[in-house]
Every structure is written in structure tokens, then in C-alpha cells.
């Protein structure tokens, strides 16, 4: 094969790859575009009060705001992320230290099976236990449902972070008299701190985006911003789902604005992760 033929084939392959890449990006671009076009007007019209006002009543001319949903999402996602990360640190420490043992294979299998449970079932399960026991849907129940839903994500990212730490660093630390907790703190979480931080952000993103776990657990609080962890709350994803199904046009507008806000809320951690990953490569 001549040099020029090889060059031509090379170019052709590159062109095909670029075309496929663009094709793959198109739906994403379209999604971002339509959310921006529909979501921007309510955000611009209301400004900051979109995130501080209560939602509108069905017939009102004002579109109100989504304060209860924003607060509920931030609180429940934070609680779920915190608990998921703590459990994932423990489970990943175990699977890292006993990489080849049966118990760590067992933990991996359990986490994988968690991943397979449809999140709507998680929501029903938490309803029949926590919600019925506490008497009404509430933020704690929603956080527990979210926790179950994002646990596999947290374990996946944290265990790959811990596994990326080379064995020789662990051996070096142990050779200097480090205790197991110090190996965790300074070696695993230290050497892989950027991967760990990305993992925490990824878990948070998952929690923020989930809807199904909240359906039976969160309630739908609209007449005040927050009433306590043991009281019904709201969430952006839930609000979008319910408002989009409603017959009222002002609700549709609010839903679009909420969708854009949700995207922004997720985009910030995504950008942070990009920065972290770039720095890690340096």
C-alpha cells in the first residue's frame, strides 16, 4: 500500500469518527437548546424571585417561583449524598483492602444488585416502611429513597478511586507504622483525592436528577418553603414531573424554568469534575 493511499484511508477514518461524534452530540445539543429556549423566559422574567417565591396557584397570572422544590432538592440530595458517600467509603475500603477475597466479591454483588432495583420500587418500599411509620411523606423518607438509589453510584466511583491507588503507596505507609485509618485518610483518600471528589459530585448529580424515588416519599409541599425534615417537602424533578402533566399553562412555564435550573444545578458539578480531572492529568 502506497503512502498516499494510507494517508487517504487515515483521513477517511477520522472524518467518519468526527461525523459519528457530531451525530451523537446532536440530541444533547437539541436538548440543551430547547430547555434554554423554553426555560429562559420565566427565569428572566422572575429573576432571583424564581428561586425564592412559592409556586403559583393554577389560575394565577403570576408564575411564582420554585423555592420549596429547590430547598427540598438541595436538602434531600445532600443528605443522601453524605450518607451514600460515608457507606461507600467503608464498602470501597473493604473491597480495596481485601481485593481478592470472597467477602469483597459478595459486597460487589450486593451493590450491583442494588443497582438493578427499579427506583420506583425503592420508592414504594420506603413508602411502606418509613412513610407509613412516620405517618406522612417527608424529607427524611425521600432522602432514604434517594440514598438507596445513589448508593451503587457512590460505591462505583469511590471503589474505582481507591483501586486506582497503587499498592506500593499502601505498603510504604504501612512500613512507616501507619494505622489502617491513617492509610485510608492519607493514602487512599489523599492520593486519589480528585477521583474521590469527582465521585462525590457524581453521586450528588445523580441524587439531584432522580425523580422516581421521590414519588411516594417526598410529598408535594407548595404553600411554604420548608417545614422540617419530618414534614412533606418538594423537589425540582418532582415539580417538573407533576407540573408538566397538569393542564395549566402557567404550570408548564414554571416546569420549563425549573428544568433549566435543574440543568444548571447539574452543570456546575460537571464543570467542577472537568477541572478536577484536568488537574489530575497534570
Amino acid at each position: 500500500m502506497g503512502r498516499s493511499t494510507r494517508k487517504a484511508i487515515n483521513l477517511l477514518v477520522i472524518a467518519v469518527i468526527v461525523a459519528l461524534g457530531v451525530l451523537g452530540l446532536l440530541p444533547l445539543i437539541w436538548l440543551l437548546y430547547s430547555t434554554a429556549v423554553n426555560g429562559l423566559p420565566p427565569l428572566l422574567e422572575k429573576g432571583l424571585s424564581f428561586i425564592t417565591d412559592l409556586p403559583p396557584t393554577p389560575m394565577s397570572t403570576d408564575i411564582g417561583g420554585i423555592a420549596p422544590a429547590l430547598v427540598g432538592t438541595l436538602i434531600s440530595s445532600s443528605i443522601a449524598t453524605l450518607l451514600a458517600v460515608v457507606s461507600a467509603v467503608i464498602s470501597s475500603l473493604f473491597t480495596r483492602e481485601y481485593m481478592y477475597s470472597r467477602i469483597s466479591g459478595f459486597i460487589e454483588a450486593v451493590v450491583r444488585s442494588f443497582n438493578g432495583i427499579p427506583t420506583i420500587i425503592v420508592s414504594m418500599y420506603v413508602y411502606t416502611t418509613v412513610v407509613l411509620w412516620m405517618g406522612e411523606p417527608n424529607v427524611v423518607a425521600a432522602s432514604i429513597a434517594l440514598l438507596i438509589a445513589v448508593l451503587p453510584t457512590a460505591h462505583y466511583y469511590l471503589s474505582s478511586a481507591l483501586r486506582s491507588v497503587e499498592e506500593r503507596y499502601r505498603e510504604a505507609a504501612l512500613s512507616l507504622g501507619f494505622r489502617r485509618i491513617h492509610v485510608l485518610r492519607y493514602v487512599y483518600l489523599g492520593v486519589a483525592r480528585r477521583q474521590v471528589a469527582s465521585g462525590i459530585l457524581m453521586t450528588f448529580i445523580r441524587a439531584v436528577g432522580e425523580t422516581a424515588p421521590l414519588l411516594f416519599t417526598m410529598g408535594f409541599l407548595t404553600n411554604s418553603v420548608f417545614q422540617g425534615l419530618n414534614r412533606p417537602g418538594n423537589a425540582i424533578s418532582l415539580l417538573i414531573f407533576i407540573y408538566a402533566l397538569s393542564p395549566y399553562t402557567n404550570y408548564h412555564t414554571v416546569a420549563w424554568g425549573a428544568a433549566l435550573l435543574l440543568l444548571i444545578l447539574v452543570l456546575i458539578p460537571v464543570l467542577l469534575i472537568e477541572v478536577l480531572v484536568k488537574e489530575a492529568r497534570k
Binding site: 481478592y100 477475597s101 499498592e167 506500593r168 503507596y169 499502601r170 505498603e171 510504604a172 505507609a173 504501612l174 512500613s175 512507616l176 507504622g177 501507619f178 494505622r179 489502617r180 491513617h182 492519607y186 493514602v187 489523599g190 492520593v191 483525592r193
Partner: protein, 250 residues
């Protein structure tokens, strides 16, 4: 009780291969014992048995006895054992997430060797001076160790072991990447340090063994084939392998 480290009929198998077969040794207080042997003879493995690092390898089978400071190694809490029997690995592995200063300071802090800020700073400086690294890094103590050369990293790893003031210091080819001038100075430091601790030194350099060693053990295929005071062994090697090692043809 004159051995700080004593091994009796030590046999180690790794993944079905016999790596050490029947090692006996007695390492004396405040001495420098040198372990020489061709590549793959089991020198690093021997050090890893002594500080129980070997048990991280699920495939390792160890039999025989190792007694440290009068106590069987399996009677020790492994973490405590490794705090008194400190190993400097063959490849330098400074923690990349910690600064040069913290690489040395952290082991001291975690093990309670130094508490106040001044104590820690003094100790870090002392250790870095002992390995002839202080002048080279004193202006960039807050930088990560990735800015250091291979030999500088190795000296950093020796320094962070020294701050623990261990009872037994296990050094696996500590000067393999270090230039001759600094090697000589580090050897001087080791001779000074043996007043406070017992040192086991793995080396491929016969000259180094002659300069710093009190006793020498020659490992070959997992067995100690020759041992004795360095002077005697060097003058009258009884085994052909020893002769070859000393002539640096093995």
C-alpha cells in the same frame, strides 16, 4: 537475648514458588548487617517477612519463626511492629499528595514522635540533613515530591523513615539511584545512626558492604550460603557465589 531480629528455619512460598528456604539469622544490636545476593535471591522478600508486609500478599505462605526484640512477630500487633521495624522500600514512593515537608513530618506526627510545630520542624530538618537532602530542598519544602529527581526521592524516603527513630531500620538498596558523593555521606550517617538503632541493609555494592557493614549474609536461591563479619567474609569467601558477587560479576 543478643539478637534483635532472629529467624529460625524461615520458609516463604509465593504463589507456589519457594522464595526463601530455611533461612536462619541473628541480627545483633546496634550493628549494620548487610544482605547481598543476586537479583531474585529473596532479599526484599526477607525484609518484607521481618516487618510482616508479606501478609498483604494473599498467596504468601510463611513457616518458621521470626523473633523481634524477644517477641515472636505474630505476637506483635502488626501496626505497632512496623512502627518499630521500619522499612524503606526498594523503589522510592514518596506520597504524591503530600508536600516534601509533610512526607517527612506526617509519619512523625502520626506516631507521636513529635507533637509541637517546632519539634516537628526540627525533626524534619534533622532527618533531611542526615540524608544530605536539606540543602537541596530547604527552599521548596511546600512543593510536591514530584519536583524531585529519582535520587532525591529515594533520600526523602530514607528521611521519612529516620524521623520515626526505629529500633530496626530495614533498607532495601537505599543508594541504588544516588550519586557516589552523596552515597558516601549517607553511609557516614548510617554509621552514626547505628548508635541508636539496628540496621539491615540490602545492597548490590560490595564496596558499600565493606565500608559500612559489620556482618554480612549472602543469599542465594533463598538460602543463606555464607555469613560472618564482613572483613572475614571479604578476605576469605568460602563460596563461589560470594566471590562472584564481590567481583561484581553476579
Amino acid at each position: 537475648m543478643s539478637c534483635v531480629v532472629e529467624a529460625r528455619d524461615l520458609v516463604v512460598r509465593l504463589g507456589g514458588r519457594t522464595v526463601l528456604s530455611g533461612v536462619n539469622l541473628c541480627i545483633k544490636h546496634n550493628s549494620i548487617s548487610v544482605i547481598m545476593g543476586p537479583s531474585g535471591s529473596g532479599k526484599s522478600t526477607l525484609l518484607r517477612v521481618i516487618n510482616r508486609l508479606i501478609e498483604l500478599n494473599p498467596e504468601a505462605e510463611v513457616s518458621g519463626r521470626v523473633v523481634i526484640m524477644g517477641k515472636d512477630i505474630y505476637e506483635w500487633d502488626p501496626y505497632e511492629l512496623r512502627r518499630y521495624v521500619v522499612l524503606v522500600q526498594q523503589e522510592p514512593t514518596p506520597f504524591p499528595n503530600l508536600s516534601i515537608f509533610d512526607n517527612v513530618a506526617l509519619p512523625a506526627k502520626l506516631n507521636g514522635v513529635a507533637r509541637s510545630r517546632e519539634e516537628v520542624e526540627k525533626l524534619v530538618r534533622w532527618a533531611l540533613e542526615k540524608v544530605m537532602l536539606w540543602d537541596e530542598v530547604k527552599d521548596r519544602l511546600r512543593k510536591p515530591p514530584t519536583v524531585l529527581s529519582g535520587g532525591q526521592r529515594q533520600r526523602l524516603c530514607i528521611a521519612r523513615a529516620l524521623v520515626l527513630r526505629p529500633e530496626v531500620l530495614l533498607l532495601d538498596e537505599p543508594t541504588a539511584n544516588i550519586d557516589p558523593a552523596n552515597t558516601l555521606k549517607i553511609e557516614e550517617s548510617l554509621k552514626e545512626l547505628k548508635e541508636d538503632m539496628t540496621i539491615v541493609l540490602v545492597t548490590h555494592m560490595p564496596h558499600q558492604a565493606a565500608r559500612v557493614g559489620d556482618f554480612i549474609y549472602v543469599l542465594y536461591n533463598g538460602k543463606i550460603i555464607e555469613e560472618g563479619p564482613v572483613g572475614e567474609v571479604f578476605l576469605h569467601p568460602r563460596h563461589e557465589v560470594t566471590t562472584k558477587l564481590l567481583e561484581r560479576v553476579l
